[in-house]
């Protein structure tokens, strides 16, 4: 066998430097996270103070048999105690100073530390959104791939119709329907809370699965899943409909690519062509959408948690807003933002793993 002497690689291939590039790109993306969080903290700070009403009004004891003057005095005292009598700029400075030192303050009502409240609420939200995400991805990818492979048939048409309907339905409507149908009529599943109140559960990490393992209490898992199914599915359905459409479009797009013909030319079976060549390349746009959709999933969890009385950050946020409990709202918003940013960071990393072409990016 002869070898031609001519060719040379245009750019020599160096795996080690490629890995360094990848790490550097991942690091650079990390740098953006504090900036985003700072911007968000400022926005929430301003938004809360723009809302009509103030926390001091409810603290001052409205509705009791106090005179108007007494209420006003109480209100002023409360404002003073909470630092709300300071100029806005001073309040903002104090807030930022606390934030930088990771002091998140206490609730205006009942003096619970915000960090403690979040520690109780975050695991529930993470459980709920992860479960919803899993359901949505499974449902969306499977139906999307089937619709694409059966393009033009009634299966395709039906899948797309259902997908469109499901992602057009608002969460609160879905949630209420789910509660009425599965909880009230059929009585298949519990509809309120994270765990039955009859169960004696003392949280360690507040992640039920982890606690069940730590405390060696496998009997926690069953009721936990039962409580999770309805809210998670409610949350997942609209996202699944959206994913179905994206997956279908992406798979159809890749099916038309030349390398799919190459794969068939190799004599590969159709399932290998789909698995190894079509799906892997279809993942890129899908993963991007997943990251962005996670944002709306978090938004949806606020509503879903409230509808299902499910203890999570969303419900904490809603209560906080209603009571004008500034520290709680600021903390909860920041926690949700951090969750969103981290998931999108994970998506970026996943993207780099899936598509080696952008590792240099």
């Amino acid at each position: 066998m002869s070898t031609l002497p001519l060719p040379r690689l245009r750019r020599p291939h160096r795996p080690r430097s490629e890995r360094a590039d990848t790490l550097w790109a991942m690091f650079r993306r990390l740098l953006g996270i504090p900036v985003v969080l700072f911007a968000l903290a400022t926005l929430v700070f301003i938004a809360m103070r723009l809302l009509p009403g103030s926390p001091t009004a409810s603290l001052a004891g409205g509705g009791t048999n106090l005179t108007a003057a007494e209420i006003a005095r109480n209100q002023a005292r409360a404002g003073e105690a909470l630092g709300l009598d300071q100029p806005l700029l001073t309040q903002y400075g104090t807030y930022l100073d606390n934030l930088v030192h990771l002091r998140f303050g206490e609730s205006f009502f009942g003096s619970n530390s915000v960090l403690g409240l979040l520690g109780d609420a975050l695991p529930g939200t993470i459980e709920l959104t992860l479960a919803a995400m899993t359901i949505a991805v499974l449902l969306g990818v499977v139906t999307g791939v089937i619709a694409a492979l059966r393009k033009g048939t009634w299966i395709d048409t039906a899948t797309r119709a259902v997908a469109t309907v499901s992602f057009s339905l608002p969460w609160f409507a879905l949630g209420v329907i789910a509660i009425v149908v599965f909880g009230v009529w059929l009585r298949w599943l519990p509809v309120l809370g994270r765990l039955p109140s009859s169960l004696d559960y003392r949280p360690t990490t507040n992640f039920v699965v982890i606690d069940a393992m730590l405390q060696n209490r496998p009997e926690l898992i069953g009721p936990w899943i039962q409580h999770l199914i309805l809210p998670a599915t409610t949350l997942a359905l609209s996202m699944a409909g959206y994913i179905t459409r994206i997956v279908r479009a992406s798979v159809l797009d890749v099916l038309g690519d030349d390398f799919v013909r190459t794969a068939r030319m190799k004599g590969l079976g159709e399932s290998a062509v789909i698995r190894r060549h079509v799906l892997r390349n279809s993942w890129l746009p899908i993963v991007t959408v997943l990251g962005l959709q996670f944002g709306s999933l978090l938004g949806g969890s606020v509503i879903t948690e409230t509808v299902f009385s499910y203890g999570g950050v969303g419900r904490l946020l809603v209560q906080g807003v209603l009571q004008r409990d500034y520290p709680v709202v600021q903390g909860a918003a920041l926690a949700i933002a951090l969750l969103f940013v981290l998931v999108n960071y994970a998506v970026d990393v996943l993207y780099m793993i899936l598509d080696p072409r952008i590792r240099k990016g």
């Binding site: 070898t3 031609l4 060719p7 750019r11 190459t262 190799k266 080696p356």
Partner: protein, 365 residues
């Protein structure tokens, strides 16, 4: 004889009807030879090649006729049968290697996949063989290059990877579909010589699809000229290139600008455009563009030996004297044109003057 094609027809359903991309082709491919299938875009050469292994099978594509390979008719074979032939006995090298290679798989893995699709073999063994193949097609440092992704290689390297992949299972037939079109001229020459050497070393018959007569001159043993879905001329390379019989081939050869001659003001070209529609009039498909067409051309001419060496076939009913005249006239013999509408003439002239004016202005600035 490795591959024998008899009466192959390929039709595509389009909104206006069925497009006859290949309208009855007979062709044989012999062991170890390189047969160039020449034709302009839309002549049906790629449709023909893809239908040999059913890569264009689709509810809207209709393939009929005989493609005899190893005692089987591939035109009617089941998808499962075809799958066992594809990549193993008949492999394809595609045109645009960047698009034809999976962007997310390392090129070594893409070559091994070709082998492992047909043979049970450990990944390591397959990879060793892939590296060997990559070296064989002239890729420097093949062990490292096997770990590269397609976008990290140059265009010439990628096309070599395609060729290495094509040869991975030592196929009896390699279909090369315009393998050099996307490449620079210098790289083209390298890739062609890789292809030629590989086919010689492996005894592979190559069906080379191209519109580039330079490529034909360089690597082909035999040439088949395709026009509007039919073979219009076929013979050994030297016969077809130096003693062309069909007016279309003559025009095609006349359109190649000479490398050392005077540069023409305007490149010579065959006037008109090929039939591309669904409805095609009977008779010689080239008659409408042929300056020498006669009444006899309204009947479908048979592809058979008429002039030149034995084995030189053409599908033209015109007598030798006319052919000789055509060879002397170049691709666009204006004066011979009998019925040429005056309006068209005027339009062409107007366009010509305008173009000249533009050219002059450019020259001055």
């Amino acid at each position: 004889m490795v591959l024998e094609i008899r009466g192959l027809r390929v039709g595509f359903d389009v909104p206006s009807g069925r497009l006859p991309a290949v309208a009855g082709v007979d062709l044989t491919l012999r062991r170890g030879e390189t047969l160039a299938l020449v034709g302009e875009s839309g002549s049906g050469k790629s449709a023909l090649a893809m239908s040999l292994v059913g890569l264009n099978r689709d509810p809207r594509t209709h393939i009929s006729g005989e493609v005899t390979f190893g005692g089987r008719n591939l035109a009617e074979a089941s998808e499962r049968e075809l799958r066992s032939v594809r990549g193993k006995d008949i492999a394809v090298v595609f045109q645009d290697a960047l698009a034809a290679l999976n962007p997310l798989h390392r090129v070594g893995a893409q070559v091994t996949e070709m082998m492992r699709a047909h043979r049970r073999m450990p990944y390591g063994t397959a990879m060793d063989r892939a590296v060997e193949l990559l070296g064989e097609v002239g890729i420097a440092n093949p062990r490292a290059s096997a770990r590269a992704l397609p976008h990290q290689l140059s265009g010439g390297m990628r096309q070599r990877v395609m060729i290495a992949m094509g040869l991975a299972n030592d196929p009896a037939v390699l279909i090369a579909d315009e393998p050099t079109t996307a490449l620079d001229v210098t790289i083209q020459a390298q890739v062609l010589s890789v292809l030629r050497r590989a086919s010689a070393d492996h005894g592979t018959a190559v069906l080379l699809i191209t519109h580039d007569l330079g490529v034909v001159a360089e690597v082909a043993d035999r040439v088949a000229v395709m026009y509007a879905g039919r073979i219009v001329e076929q013979g050994s390379r030297d016969e077809v290139l130096f003693n062309p019989q069909h007016p279309y081939t003559i025009g095609l050869l006349g359109s190649v600008p000479p490398i050392d001659g005077p540069v023409a003001d305007r490149l010579p070209a065959i006037p008109g455009s090929p039939l591309t529609g669904v409805d095609r009039p009977g008779g010689c498909a080239f008659a409408g563009r042929c300056a020498f067409a006669e009444d006899a051309c309204t009947e479908q001419p048979e592809l058979r030996h008429r002039h030149g060496e034995p084995g030189h076939l053409d599908a033209c009913v015109l007598p030798d004297s006319v052919r000789r005249q055509a060879r002397g006239a170049g691709p666009d013999p204006q004066p011979e044109r009998p019925e040429r509408p005056e309006q068209l003439e005027q339009l062409e002239q107007a366009a010509g003057t305008e173009r000249d004016l533009v050219r002059n202005e450019k020259g001055r600035s």
